[in-house]
Symmetry: C2
Subunit: 194 residues, 2 copies
DNA sequence: TTGACATTAGATCGAGCGTTCGATAATGTC
DNA sequence: GACATTATCGAACGCTCGATCTAATGTCAA
């Protein structure tokens, strides 16, 4: 006997799809309710408002997304190897939660004060993780750049850009691309004698 | 005697600010007309519709933005030096036309068929310029990566991310950051023996 | 069967949206 | 000075938005 997916999860799933495809402002609550075949009031029953829906998506995603990165950053490994794993994990997250990440990369301006704070904190925590790793690498002389913050942003730029151009139905597999991107980043931070 | 700025340009300027700040859907034509102290009908007199306004912004920007990159790519220089100049030019464009680029990075889904085509073509032309340069570098053995397309996307990721995190009022100057980013990218593409 | 409660549907609201219209004011042309 | 052209305006249109209200339905213990 299969447990039917709870309505709340169904709503979150469909809303995520629509928000990712048409944007937050571009998606009406009628769009969502129609796609699900339920009434508008039902949406309001589960999530108090349209933005409540957005916040729920943010919350649901951010937990798993950040915890995964955090876990990797706490692994006892060679710093370079750990950094590599961090990138791989992050790229996998981008693949699995691409739609959610897209929403908050594109529509962050439509969040309330509360949502905006939550969103910013997530971004800050991700940056902090990378900064810590880069600091460790720098201490071992594996990074020559002076400004670790710029370096971290560059790394995040490459990773975040991935979910803007990569198409799963294209010629390249996720693993191939991961390898290429990882190599690019590792070369980039190594700051060799150019 | 100072020539007053033509109303058309004023509208374009204010609209660019608002679209960049609040998104296309998030900005009403009333917002724009209020910010300018003119009537809504006046907007429609100059640009036939809200999307006409967006298209005008796209057109005005894309010309100067792309032509600059094109010009650099046609310079007769050492390939590595030309690539470096390309990045510098691109970053300068991001600094000067950050708002415009933001609009079409965030709101491309709201363009009509015509606008979407124009926007895609711009992206494609930018990518083509980088692919050509990377190809030249690869021919001289300066790039070891197998997949130039992924490499080009990585480069664009770093550059485009710049206009998401860089704040002119922060501690870093544009030139400092440009130097850091250029070094990162050049190291990244060199694909050394890691 | 009844009553309490959760869940649903559908009508409805005021606000805001993009857009249109007809009229007025300013400017240029002969 | 008459006339065409351009620039500007206020008022309104039809529509969609997020949100709410009311009433009906389903569920299940007592």
């Amino acid at each position: 006997m299969v447990q039917p997916t709870p309505m709340k999860d169904q709503i979150l799933s469909v809303a995520t799809d629509l928000f990712a495809a048409k944007g937050f402002k571009g998606t009406s609550i009628r769009d969502i309710s129609n796609a699900l075949g339920i009434s508008i009031s039902n949406l309001y029953h589960y999530f108090g408002s349209k933005e409540g829906l957005l916040l729920a998506i943010l919350q649901r995603t951010s937990e798993t997304l950040l915890d995964d990165l955090q876990r990797v950053s706490e692994m006892e490994l060679e710093p370079l190897e750990r950094f590599k794993r961090l990138i791989e994990t992050h790229l996998r997250q981008c693949r699995d939660f691409g739609k959610e990440t897209r929403i908050f990369m594109l529509d962050k301006e439509h969040l309330s004060r509360e949502g905006d704070r939550a969103n910013r904190q997530i971004q800050r925590r991700v940056l902090a993780i990378y900064l810590k790793e880069l600091g460790t690498l720098a201490n071992r002389g594996l990074v020559t750049s002076r400004n670790l913050k710029v370096l971290a942003f560059n790394v995040l730029g490459v990773i975040n850009w991935y979910l803007r151009w990569y198409r799963p139905d294209g010629p390249l597999s996720h693993d191939e691309v991961t390898e290429e991107i990882t190599a690019f980043i590792l070369n980039g931070i190594r700051g060799a004698d150019i």
